[in-house]
Symmetry: C2
Subunit: 494 residues, 2 copies
């Protein structure tokens, strides 16, 4: 355990390390409501940044935002057969709409007279309520494509929860689009997959693998599920976002048809896609260390912190630092999120540890010994490297370093992924890698749910995806020995 | 009824006019869930703009965002005595956490085995769950002030709902702050009142009256409620946002104390404040007319629309228009929300009506007869005025006109409010104005809840506020004849 910060080391207990980081860095904490978290200001600021970037991309690709009800009538869930199987079970059910004073003086009780005729489900996902609206919005080919997204909170009653990774309530965006034909809907699902993947590479600095889900891992109601799979530092995979081609399943369930140019009626084609606060968990687990968070500069709420070193002898020169910082701030402009921490009630050692814990990418130490020689010390959070840089052109240096840190974090994750992606050709080797170094395993699979299931039961590894870029390659399934023409990606996963 | 658009005239039926506008302009509609609305893309775009502006102001004044759970344990509501009286009654109650397949084949049913030990309430407002967290966050004076806001959806089970104005689920922001002393908390509540009022004046173009609520109209759990009251075109008032000084009520209910500089324990002081999607209703009712919305440019999703007039003779000159528009777009820059509608599947007359309905502030008509003389026609949505302007410097002209429209809309609303604010000195005059021209009435009141209540019962008018700028003035209560030293603001209200 890190003495200063009370963080359990990752080697000692990866799960505890994760929870310690999330809570001690002030990202989130459990609430009084089972399974629901409080996302604290520092955590929410990172999520807001993610939202801002993604939202701009959705809009740039022609999508608009809207807002659909929090509640779904219970009967709606049953309309799409596969969907109800996948989603209807663990969810929050609203049965009453009124409380009243307990006649026995015990505070408030549920008013038994205020029972709803039909129970309402707090949305676990919104396909049903949205397609019920689309029915009235879509009549003609001129109404298509309909490209709508919503930022929302959803609830799935999880029995075993973990901050950000699996919580009863979570925040996400869910896109729901309608198209005139299959090709356009597939193109949409793939476009979004690319947007997700670009975002994860360029902002989260996580080199995800993109691919198709096997049939048994598909979204309930989808004809095809595309996924982005990240690899965490403990060798486990994390599904980070999915994009679904829904075929005509929801259109048929909710009777949504359009008239084409020849005035013929046809069911519309659909997609849905989402990323959630789960990405916060990925961000933490992919990059951080025993000293705290390591945040990619593009998502860090504070990108650079400047800390003055002042003692009794130099206190009267404080004004020089203030001037230097004021000038630097102007040069950095509003694009760089800069903080000057000259709070004199805290020791600089305390501050160093605090910003390390919070994952601030760059720390500038302003000491007079350095400054009198025209330099300052800059520490990189990702590598721990400390170096002196000229005060001249400091703003340029900082901007340059931020780019380097972003790339450095990505490359480190990429190296890790590459050294933890193993091709295996036997079930023995499969199990050995899985129990040894872990990570992604590329292996031949016979394409059956039976084999997939058997491997899962015996090893806890699942098929994360059939990679989009999987090469055609003759081989035999590691489990059944039956023929296979490409390798799929296995891993233990969160 | 407006023939083209199917909008009931305001004179004929103001309530129907409002609903027609909201639905036909594509702002919102009722959903399949009783009392819950779907906010459609055009409506959500306006709300997003409101959020963006307010959020920037909250951050500029030192606030940070966070996210607290959607659910509140039932017992929490009883902890603050006044609060439970005001809020515990009409709300969505979650009693179960699982559905199961109906053994009789009737879809899904609530699993009676999955009953929660303690029911959860979908938050009607978040003071209780937030103060339960603050208990762990606040220890020392160094933790104060704590200035947190959240953007959230909340649910109050309203029996009679109206799109935006009163819905079961609605969207809002709720600020919850904690302070070391009373003066700071009061200053915070007043700061936010000023921010709200500035926003309503400068963006919504609604000249609100700010003041205190009478004791009986206060928020449940507040020591003082500040309000912003707008006047709608039908002479009724709309409460548009409130800011509450909560004293130490919630700190005491949740036992939240801090140690001051002398290491003495004291309860903290609190505020809470919120504005909601109700402002969308205000925006519509304050400015719009029988032809559709009239949106202030600062909040309009499209500020300027350019529509080409092309016929068979001029179709080969279309490229000239495209070039002109491309140049204009560059000159307008990304700050101006400009749309070029050259969709040739719709008649220009149809487009004119459509953008009128949607409240686009400026419409440019691009006709070759004008263009060949170096001019274009610009129509203002707010006044209906059409004028020709030189193509030269068109971007500057547009920017200038947008400012004029924003001011024009505000001034029109201000004139309306001034001509519909009446000082009365007798109960006869009070009732006469109320049943006649309506609007705000400034009258003396004896300060008792009994009088307030009697007036409300007899006339349906309520005290909207005791204006902050009310002058000291000797007088007698219009109802009781008892002495009074200032006039308060009465109106019928939404």
């Amino acid at each position: 355990m890190s003495k200063d910060k009370g963080i359990t080391s990752r080697a000692e207990d990866a799960a505890k390390w994760y929870t310690d980081l999330v809570t001690k860095a002030g990202l989130a904490e459990h609430s009084a409501v089972r399974g629901c978290m409080v996302i604290k200001p520092y955590g929410w600021a990172i999520w807001e940044k993610m939202k801002e970037v993604l939202d701009a991309r959705f809009k740039a690709t022609g999508h608009v935002n809207a807002s659909f009800p929090l509640f779904i009538p219970k009967s709606f869930l049953s309309k799409e057969a596969a969907h109800v199987e996948g989603f209807a079970k663990e969810c929050a059910v609203v049965t009453h709409y009124r409380l009243k004073n307990d006649p026995n003086g015990g505070g408030v009780i549920v008013d038994p007279e205020a029972k709803l005729e039909e129970e309402l489900i707090v949305r676990p996902t919104s396909e049903t309520i949205i397609w019920n609206s689309y029915k009235n919005w879509i009549n003609s080919h001129r109404d298509l494509p309909l490209l709508i997204n919503q930022w929302a909170n959803v609830v799935r009653w999880e029995m075993r929860t973990r901050l950000f990774l699996r919580t009863a309530e979570f925040h996400w965006q869910e896109g729901h689009t309608a198209h005139a034909n299959k090709a356009e809907a597939v193109a949409e699902a793939e476009l979004i997959l690319t947007e997700y993947s670009n975002f994860m590479h360029n902002y989260l600095a996580i080199p995800v693998i993109t691919g198709y889900k096997s049939e048994s891992e598909r979204f309930a109601g989808a004809d095809e599920t595309y996924t982005t799979e990240g690899l965490m530092q403990d060798g486990k995979a994390l599904q980070m976002g999915t994009s679904h081609f829904l075929g005509q399943n929801f259109a048929k369930a909710f009777d949504v048809k359009y008239r084409d140019k020849n005035n013929q009626e046809e069911y519309v084609w659909a997609t849905s896609w989402g990323v959630s606060t789960r990405m916060m968990g990925a961000l933490i687990m992919a990059h951080s260390d025993d000293d705290g968070l390591i945040l990619p500069p593009k998502l860090a709420p504070i990108q650079v912190v400047a800390i003055p070193l002042i003692n009794k002898k130099t206190i009267d020169r404080k004004g020089e630092l203030d001037d230097l910082v004021a000038k630097l701030k102007t040069e950095l402009g509003t694009d760089i999120r800069f903080k000057y921490d000259d709070d004199d009630s805290k020791r600089s050692g305390f501050k160093f540890a605090e910003y390390e814990l919070k994952g601030v990418p760059l720390r500038i130490t302003l000491g007079f010994r350095d400054l009198d020689q025209g330099v300052v010390e800059i520490a990189r959070r990702d590598t721990g490297e400390k170096k002196q840089y000229p005060v001249e052109n400091l703003a340029q240096t900082i901007k340059h370093l931020l780019v380097e840190v972003q790339e450095g974090i990505y490359n480190k994750a990429l190296n890790y992924r590459e050294s933890h992606t193993t091709k295996v050709d036997s079930y023995e080797a499969f199990k050995e890698v899985l129990e040894g170094k872990g990570g992604f395993i590329l292996a031949h699979w016979d394409g059956t749910a039976e084999t997939e299931d058997a491997i899962k039961k015996e090893t806890k590894a699942t098929i994360r995806c059939i990679p989009l870029d999987a090469e055609e390659e003759e081989g035999v399934c590691v489990y059944s020995g039956k023929p296979s023409n490409k390798r799929v990606l296995f891993a233990k996963a969160y």
